[in-house]
Symmetry: C2
Subunit: 700 residues, 2 copies
């Protein structure tokens, strides 16, 4: 074969694969800048492994693959560097500065050393080094030492045994239960690589609305097979458990957590699990929540249930994550207050192996919520925070919403717990255990992954998985820095385009809130959580209607949670309460969360509530056009298939944003009895038209 022919074949090979997003941020495409490549190459002439654990081997493999792609030449893996210089050395070492999973990157005797206290730390260091190259940073600026701020960094998969994913919008479950354990999809390893690259170290593989199947030997064998693939990447497997499992598959008459037989069943089951999965991570439990059974069925408490499982886990290095997402069907109560009402008295009563997992907000993953009052109130119990990466309430896989600002907003919220000075008691500091000196710390993200080729449906939703993982490791990173990093690794290095896309991402969540739930509105949803239904007033439960949340009437809009209303604000510390308690001073993003505001009340913007609402709905929807323009502007810098994919979804988002706008303004106007303020124009369809469209999405 001669040169030109070979060149042709090479181009052919390159062109036959458009960027389908499968590689995520681990693309490892050849760096275009030859001098830059040369500089990197001088420091990456070999990879030396001081020992050969599966995790160190995984780190070396990843470096080898990554460097080969980025630098365009093979890099040998050797056992011992000897006197050689110009290479990369992977080594486990004890160092004062290193925490359990931490890593150190340093230059020593002409080599680049990636050190970790554990082999997982080395693996994280290897990914950090690759990230440095992928974002074209000079190796000189390598951060020296990095330790995770939170100990357990987990994805929660709401995946069912039939392959469906609850609240999944990216295809089916990644786990092929019918093929396991005999066949291992190569994708399992790529899943582990992607998580490890972020420092995620655990995965709950099944839905919190759990099937008892997963505790049968048949399914444990399947889960164990997954664990085998994940193990070298430092990822432990956890299971969501169905609380009545001792009855359903154990044949017992009860699942009472204080019953000795039940406790024995769990102890035996746990032993069986550890026999199959020695590094099993533990249990996640949704109990007495939305119809799921739990210890209250036997007049026991959440603590009784959690502590029973903790006892079963006592001989092993495993934990219990007990969810605080509970609320009763009581039309007079305020769902906002339900979790603390049930869990407040249990503070301090949990076994040290238990962590209580709290959703970021008091309701349910709305586009904007105040932080859950539990973070300021339960100081004696380690609390894990649960974010939702999948976009259940954020436009499924067709709306572009970069979630890091939402995560950060919550993590940086100040609980002012224990009368701390400003900034000393943020939610982040509660969660990372530093505020209340808890040994356990954890963070969970409800995964947005699925069997779609690009993992997340919307190509830009990959950034949300990425951002969750990066923040789980280090919650002090800024949303913008994470976005810039991700865009560079995933989409383009072209500086103008990077800036433009980052800007688009940074505004996206606020735009979504504006056309969807501005000023502190929440939950205008029907059963499908897709189409607008603020008018929804019938449901099997009062707290599953829309009107329960927005409380519209002829006077105004919003849920009074001050002392004159549900007094949910009393669940916060006084300083927090003070910020939100006064309708005149309450920041606008939270206004209708806490106040029933008259239509004609003038807000800090100078507009009345009605005019401000309309302004948000209209400018929000219009801003999607701005997003489309911004995206159109980066076309030359983006892979064509990927460009078209996002452009198509933005067109859908534009259409649906107008739908949302129209639904809200047409529904609210008869209450507000005011015209749509200039320069906005009344929708050219009726409320009935809008509803008809919603109805379509409810048809069988």
């Amino acid at each position: 074969m001669h040169y030109r022919y070979l060149l042709f074949l090479l181009l052919l090979a390159a062109n036959s694969y458009a960027d389908d997003g499968y590689r995520l941020w681990l693309k490892y495409d050849l760096i275009n800048d030859a001098p830059q490549r040369e500089t990197y190459s001088r420091s990456a002439q070999f990879i030396a492994l001081t020992s050969n654990t599966p995790t160190l081997k995984a780190a070396a493999d990843e470096l080898q693959t990554g460097l080969q792609g980025l630098l365009g030449k093979p890099v040998p893996v050797i056992a011992n560097a000897g006197n050689r210089t110009g290479g990369i050395i992977l080594t486990i070492r004890k160092a004062q500065a290193l925490a359990k999973d931490g890593y150190q990157l340093s230059r020593e005797k002409g080599n680049l050393v990636i050190g970790g206290k554990t082999d997982a730390g080395v693996l994280y260091g290897a990914f950090a080094l690759l990230r440095q190259l992928q974002t074209l940073q000079p190796l000189e600026t390598l951060p020296r030492t990095s330790n995770p701020k939170i100990q357990y960094r987990l994805l929660n998969h709401w995946d069912n045994p039939n392959g469906s994913v609850e609240r999944g919008y990216a295809g089916e479950s990644l786990w092929k239960w019918y093929e396991l354990p005999e066949r291992l999809d190569p994708r399992y390893r790529d899943y582990a690589r992607a998580n490890a690259s972020l420092g995620i170290n655990g995965t709950v593989v099944n839905n919190v609305n759990a099937s008892a199947r997963f505790l049968t030997r048949e399914y444990l064998d399947k889960v164990a097979a997954l664990a085998t693939v994940f193990r070298p990447y430092g990822i432990r497997v956890y299971l969501s458990v169905y609380f009545p499992a001792p009855k359903v598959i154990g044949g017992l008459k009860t699942a009472d957590p204080l019953d000795p037989e039940v406790r024995k069943w769990w102890a035996d089951k746990t032993k069986e699990i550890y026999g199959l999965i020695p590094d099993f991570g533990g249990y996640l439990v949704k109990a007495n929540s939305e119809g799921e059974p739990g210890p209250q069925d036997y007049n026991r408490t959440h603590a009784d249930g959690a502590n029973m499982l903790a006892e079963a886990l006592k001989p092993y290095d495993g934990i219990v994550m007990w969810r605080a997402f509970v609320y009763k069907a009581d039309p007079k109560a305020d769902r906002f207050k339900a979790a603390l009402e049930e869990f407040g008295d249990l503070d301090g009563k949990f076994d040290p192996k238990v962590i209580v997992q709290v959703k970021n907000g008091p309701i349910d993953f709305q586009p904007r919520e105040p932080f859950s009052p539990l973070f300021g109130a339960m100081t004696k119990t380690p609390l894990s925070i649960e974010f939702q990466i999948t976009q259940e309430y954020m436009g499924f896989a067709t709306h572009l919403v970069y979630e890091a600002p939402l995560f950060k907003e919550c993590l940086e919220s100040d609980t002012y717990a224990k009368g701390s000075p400003p900034g000393a008691a943020t939610v982040a500091k509660v969660v990372d255990g530093s505020l209340n000196n808890h040994a356990l710390s954890a963070i969970a993200g409800v995964a947005n992954t699925g069997s779609d080729r690009n993992w997340t449906g919307h190509p830009m939703a990959q950034a949300n998985w990425y951002a969750f993982g990066r923040l789980a490791w280090d919650h002090t990173l800024t949303s913008e820095a994470i976005a810039t990093e991700w865009v560079n690794m995933t989409l383009t290095h072209e500086p103008k385009a990077v800036k433009q896309i980052t800007g688009l991402m940074m505004r996206s969540r606020e735009i979504y809130v504006d056309y969807n739930t501005p000023l502190g509105l929440s939950r205008p949803w029907t059963g499908v959580h897709f189409a607008p239904e603020p008018w929804q007033n019938k449901s099997s439960r009062p707290d599953w209607t829309a009107i329960y949340y927005h409380r519209v009437d002829s006077i105004g809009l919003g849920f009074d949670r001050t002392a004159t209303g549900s007094n949910a604000l009393a669940q916060y510390t006084p300083k927090v309460r003070q910020v939100w308690d006064n309708a005149d001073q309450c920041p606008l993003p939270y206004l209708l969360w806490f106040h029933h505001v008259p239509w004609t009340k003038k807000l800090s913007t100078g507009r009345t509530l009605w005019d401000e609402l309309c302004t948000r709905f209209y400018t929000g929807a219009d801003s999607v056009s701005w997003m489309q323009q911004q995206w159109a502007g980066v076309k030359p810098a983006i892979d064509p298939e990927l460009f078209a994919n996002v452009a198509g979804r933005l067109a859908t988002q534009r259409k649906e944003a107008i739908w949302w706008r129209d639904a809200w303004v047409l529904y609210l106007q008869p209450f507000a009895r005011q015209p749509i303020p200039a320069p906005f124009k009344k929708p050219d369809r009726s409320l009935e038209d809008v509803k008809r469209l919603v109805d379509i999405y409810q048809l069988r």
Copy 2:
């Protein structure tokens, strides 16, 4: 860049993509044999297009892509060959020998001419030529002319609007309803290419258990967007309709097919559809079947319902496919007879635009069924045959079952209708319209495609899609020829491996039948159609239990359908009846379909029924080990990822085959009251053990 570097990059590019099956049989990998390549290249120096219709352009594109891959060099597309020779000319021409979609491959004036009466014919010819190269056939043996034997060759997708696929085992639906119409997944085009390569010319995109959504403008816009992608590939879109749509989305008070308003609604709706999709293919209807509404709800007949839709389609080139899959919940009736009982009297009463779609067998896609009696009995009505490609009753996506022998077995069955001589009145000749001189002819396959990267879950299940399409075009092809062709195009050219894999495929269905439903057993299923449950005797309907079908008792096994029993055999012509009527002469594969046979009765094999059953169950399960060995033997010839994928699934199949065997023999033994015959050994687990395993798969 110099030569060696380039070579390295090329190998890198080649190696970074394992064969994930996405390309199906259209792989177009470089032909290894250089002289062979050279020979082909001499005849493929250019592609000349005599006109530029989208379909001819698609044909030229495909040839260009295919030749570039196969021959390793670019082939230009030119407008006019002029005096040039050594090229390929695509041309639409009138020729006596050509039917509508037919093609002719010929050598004319030094060029290779692909001629068709329509541009779709040319497209099929282009794929035929590529197939010739892909299977390394000399161009000299090009078949001259090929016409499809059946006019409408369709896939039926049982895809729901929520993305799930009823009886789908390869991920979610290919159609991304939430993204449509704004985003067009590039996969839609590859779907169309794959179908066009086989001559499939229509696709019903939604489940026969239809949602009314698909008839709303919102969804018609989405369907129209799909149609736009499919159109250049000669594929027309059809819709399954929900019979009460005029009520559900039209706001009418009735869906009575004789009501003038209802008729007008359908006429208007059809007009709307053709406004959006000018080449819309028509409607598929499941009515008064398994709880679906239909004309009988208004005391009208199937013909009334079908003819109403035909009337709506009158101004357009569209057809109605009305399914005959009906049976009432009557414990005393024989479901076997239900379809003809309902449809027999309607023969001759359907509009000429209606075709009645009949499942291959009288029950429901069992691993082996006699052909449906309708094929011999309804001579005045064009009948479409419906096969199930997806493996609802054949091990989902973990059992390797090559279905061409099943398809062929039915198509070649002799109905002896009209007293025809042997071979003159096969099911194939009923279906292709030749026997009864029908203008309409159609064949439908329930698709096994899904969003899995390799389309079909089990890599070998691609062969079933392929075989269905090839037989839809030409039902005289042999199963073996199709398998050989597919293996060559998809897996390997290595002659020994081709032979071994083809052999494995050819035996696979019989092996499955042996461990699953030998000797004419059927429907030992529970709700999930996955696990064995021959003991199942409770259901919401008597005909949804297992015992309804196998009729086990202490005397024997099987369903007496002779005159002493349900007399279903009377639905067949006398000659057919004669073959099956006598238990002593009835071919063993059909024995228990028609006879209740005593346990101790000696069969033609010399064994008693019980011993024969055991022999089938045991050798069937053991034969999966043989399949594993055969597959292991071809390892060097197969892409490693693909090899491991199939090997893993075979291991699962082996495990489950033993499960099936054990379930049957342990369940039947107390009735037969006989030991497992030597050399087979009694299962080392109990019936309770087997049931427990089944129960797991029924847990929420």
